[in-house]
Symmetry: C2
Subunit: 219 residues, 2 copies
DNA sequence: ACCTGAACACCGTTCAAGT
DNA sequence: ACCTGAACACCGTTCAAGT
């Protein structure tokens, strides 16, 4: 196939420009004009390669998770399932606003398909029925996307304004503790647990529950 | 407290106007100008009641889930946990783009706090440790939000253009089936399972896995 | 085939000015 | 205290025109 010359615009170069802008300005700051400028072209030119901004975001979503790599085939299916979840989360956390970009978008890049294929293979091999393997895969991505979406968005105006996660969590804890104990005894008692900013532990907890719940299907 | 006269703008009336616009135009079509018009006021007036659009979206998120109601205290904790999940999903599905509005936003309306309080009470009563009860609650909302986010967003440009979910799912199934079977044997074999448009069944599957995984903590 | 210039309708937000 | 009018900088998208 004909190699596009160094300066011609392609969908790949468009996706790369969009990724750069995303990293620099966040999803809210990503405009067609800025992506065009990053690609060294006028805004109107993008519409030759892409129907609209929505389609550009599809390209961006593919680019965001293009680095997906299946975990090694070591340990049992459970350990490998956990590892899929951890890697997906890490992939999303690595790029600014990645969860917002990916959430609710169908990505079918070849790398993603390869990872999905591999994951299904391992689940079936572990003994899951076809439908259960498909569901287990969907379940994992819904959980990870939902989790990282929360994790990546500022908890409040305060955090957006520059306060650290720990500070915001502490303030939230104070809010719970300050609630009337007669009406909200549990919120007051669990204030610390509810606002614990250790996201790794939280993520692992959910991931293990999923794996345990799936394991019960094999008994 | 002084009753605001019928025509004065309040944060409550602002939230109600935003909700109306959301239902009519979707989140992408929700602008400060349209919300102002709906409230019978000029766009600039909103900034007296609200710092910026972000804060208006916070109000909107509260309004979206203000109707939350805890399930009846019948059956064991597991059945009640499932029911919390079902109701949360139903609440989000009832309002256009609700998952996108709520996802990654901290809502602390009194109704939501009451439901959370009640949920924690039941989990602790069932025997969960404090930290586990807090995690179980967070896990449920991450899962439901992640799930409905997928469910509520158009799977593709085709669906946005008016094709039914079933048609899109069928087309996606065709795509998987058409893949080279040597490279993607599992995607080809599970094409139907992966693209099954029955979202209720999918949701229930995940929900039961969560509940089973949590149940294992009590043994 | 691919890109530009100019335009259109529409944004979020600010601010002096009104009542 | 609350709202308006007008303005600013910035959007996504279209389209005739260029090469």
């Amino acid at each position: 196939m004909a190699q596009p010359s160094a300066r011609t615009l392609t969908r790949e170069r468009l996706a790369a420009a969009a990724l750069t802008v995303l990293e620099r300005e966040g999803l809210a700051g990503l405009s067609m004009r800025k992506v065009a400028a990053e690609a060294g072209v006028q805004a109107a030119s993008l519409y030759w390669h892409v129907r609209d901004k929505e389609e550009l975001l599809d390209l961006l979503a593919d680019a965001v998770i293009a680095d997906a790599v299946p975990p090694p085939r070591t340990g049992d299916w459970r350990e490998q399932y956990l590892e899929y979840g951890r890697r997906y989360r890490a992939l999303l956390l690595a790029k600014r606003d990645a969860a917002k970009v990916v959430a609710g978008r169908l990505t079918t890049g070849p790398r993603v398909l390869a990872v999905l294929e591999d994951q299904l293979d391992r689940l079936r091999e572990a003994g899951f029925a076809d439908a259960d393997a498909a569901m287990a895969s969907y379940l994992l991505s819904a959980y990870v996307q939902g989790f990282v979406l929360q994790e990546q968005s500022p908890l409040s105006a305060a955090e957006a304004a520059g306060a650290s996660r720990g500070q915001v969590a502490h303030a939230a804890g104070e809010t719970f503790r300050a609630l009337p104990a007669e009406t909200y005894p549990n919120l007051v008692a669990l204030a610390d647990d509810l606002t614990d900013p250790d996201m790794d532990t939280r993520f692992e907890f959910g991931l293990h529950r999923l794996a345990d719940g799936l394991a019960a299907l094999l008994e």
